[in-house]
Amino acid sequence: MTTTTERVSTRTPAVPARTRRKPNWNLVLRVVLLMIAAVLTLGPVMWTLSTSLRSPSESFKLPPSFFPWNPDFTSYTQVFKQLDIVILVLNSALVTGLIAVGQMVTAAMAGYAFANLKFRGRGALFSIVLATMMVPVQVTIVPVFMLIRGMGLSDTLLALILPAIPTAFGTFLMRQYFLGLPADLAEAASIDGASPWRTFRSVYAPLAVPGMAIVGILAFNFHWNEFFRPLIMTISERNFTLPLGLVSLQGNLGTGSISVVLAGVVLSMIPALVVFIFGQRALQDGLTAGSGK
């Protein structure tokens, strides 16, 4: 993605020889249209934030609020009473964290094997791994549910964690990442007499950390927000994850106290927001990876 930005900046002076002479109405029009789109994109989120900071009785009154001028935190104390939100956060954090770590480790190992190690059937095996990306979760969910039940894991957090750890996309990303590292390193290491394991452990694994971070961030973002699998795999409320808990809270409260539900929504957004602020580049690169070739 760094190459993209470089290309953008080298390109820009070339295009608008035409626009520089006239007053730049083209730019003004574009910025106005883009601003409208940005307001429509961010507006609902601003409304959610500022409505969660109104008192529950005020929250559904019009005109709506888009900026929290007089923040009122009753809804935030309410949501802790209405909902076992601590349990939900812990469940979500545990599930998401273990999936992310599991994916980072297994994808790095498998990606390294596909990129740097020689063994029979490598090409065929990699094609199978890629092909599994085409199969939607919804199609395999019934047998996975049976399998989990057979393993005695139904209605546990492990039912959410275990099936999500093997990752075709993560393996693909890590393979690309290892292929991008210079091959001379392996050569140098093997001349120095390092075993394949030593070569991985001391030379490649430390260099793979940025790639693993992308896999981890993608896994975190996806599974923190996941709704379909938790809806099916968990039954009792103490095993719910955040999105599931919030949807059932909305069902229980009806339209009575919007701000309480929205306070829960805002709380659930915080980790995603942190990832957005610190890992936006990695997320964008990861999401669009594979579109290059």
Binding site: R7, R11, A14, R18, L27, L34, A37, A38, T41, L42, P44, V45, W47, F60, P64, M109, A110, A113, L117, K118, F119, R120, T132, M134, V135, P136, Q138, V139, T140, V142, P143, F145, L162, P163, I165, P166, I191, G193, S195, P196, N225, E226, F227, I232, P243, L244, V247, Q250, T255, V261, L262, M269, A272, F276, Q280, L283, Q284, L287, T288, G292
Partner: protein
């Protein structure tokens, strides 16, 4: 990886003098047969978690899903073989039919809307503009992607409420009477599409931004020397050169739209009536609410076949219409 072998030979040839003295010190290192052997061992150890996990949680379930589609099973009693009965029942079931039709209409409208919006915004963002503004717009359009579809649907349900929703409040200034968004079939379908596109257009936008950035500046220079301006520049240069990206973006958008579940489930539960019920919602309901696992698998198999057919058709089409440089 055939390239590694010559490289190793080169390494051996490179220092013939030193190898003679080194050889006794490092007997049997990775250059030899035992080295290749240990590489193979390491490969299988490294692959084991991924391969076993995928076998257990993806490959076996795919096979099981197809097999299960030919059985009647409610988990409690033993499964019975019913041949193609599940498929026959599913194809005739009015709810299933309506749901597939809904899904197809949803995919066509939502994907067209999403791609059109994303392309227009990407073209506007990529032309000359201050860098900070470009960064702001990129982040803003990307933002909804990091939220959970369930949470988004929760707050959108309030925004589209008929009496106190913000959307109707804004519309009232234009003299439009309160729209019954979530209580009428048309209104519900519109909300599901709008909420889905609101959250997902940023992904297509990012793909288009990447595609636009890879169009060489010289192409535009040549076009403007030939007298192309404004719209003509886009129709004759941008669109043809962007077609590989457009194909990729549409394949990805269609595949993910075919699997829509979270938004209609939270926003409307498929209603009113069956008006916003989708294919995946029907799989969910027949399996986990009616315990008809065989029928659910049959619907899943049909959905997978549709997804595979569309993917194949699009890559066929691409050979005819996509312009590769």
């Amino acid at each position: 990886m055939s390239t590694t072998t010559p490289r190793r030979d080169r390494a051996k040839q490179a220092k013939p003098a030193t190898t003679q003295t080194l050889k006794p010190a490092t007997p049997g290192t990775s250059q030899t047969a035992s080295g290749r052997h240990s590489q193979r061992w390491l490969a299988w150890i490294f692959l084991a978690p991924t391969i076993l996990g995928m076998g257990l949680f993806t490959l076996v379930p795919i096979v099981a899903s197809v097999v299960l589609a030919f059985f009647r099973w409610d988990i409690i009693s033993a499964p019975t073989f019913v041949g193609f009965d599940n498929f026959a029942e599913v194809v005739q079931d009015p709810t299933v039919r309506v749901s597939f039709l809904n899904t197809i209409v949803f995919v066509i409208v939502a994907v067209a809307f999403q791609l059109g919006l994303a392309l227009a915004l990407a073209v506007m963002v990529q032309e000359k503009m201050p860098a900070w503004l470009r960064t702001f717009f990129r982040s803003a359009f990307f933002f909804p992607l990091i939220l959970s579809a369930a949470s988004v649907s929760i707050f959108m349900r309030y925004l589209f409420n008929e009496q106190f929703g913000v959307v109707n409040w804004f519309l009232s200034f234009a003299g439009i009477p309160a729209v019954p968004w979530l209580t009428t079939p048309g209104g519900s379908a519109a909300v599901v599409i709008l909420v889905y596109v609101w959250q997902n257009f940023g992904f297509s936008f990012l793909l288009f931004i990447g595609g636009l950035a890879s169009i060489p500046a010289e192409t535009y220079e040549a076009a403007s020397l030939d007298g192309a301006t404004g719209w003509r520049k886009h129709t004759y240069v941008t669109l043809p050169l962007l077609s590989p990206t457009t194909l990729l973006a549409s394949v990805m958008a269609i595949i993910s739209a075919l699997q829509v579940f979270d938004q209609p489930y939270v926003l409307t539960r498929g209603g009113p009536g069956d008006s916003t019920r989708t294919a995946v919602m029907v799989i969910f309901e027949s399996a986990f609410q009616r315990l008809e696992f065989g029928q659910a698998s049959a619907i899943g198999v049909i959905l997978t076949l549709i997804i595979m057919a569309i993917t194949a058709a699009q890559f066929r089409l691409s050979k005819r219409f996509v312009f590769y440089q």
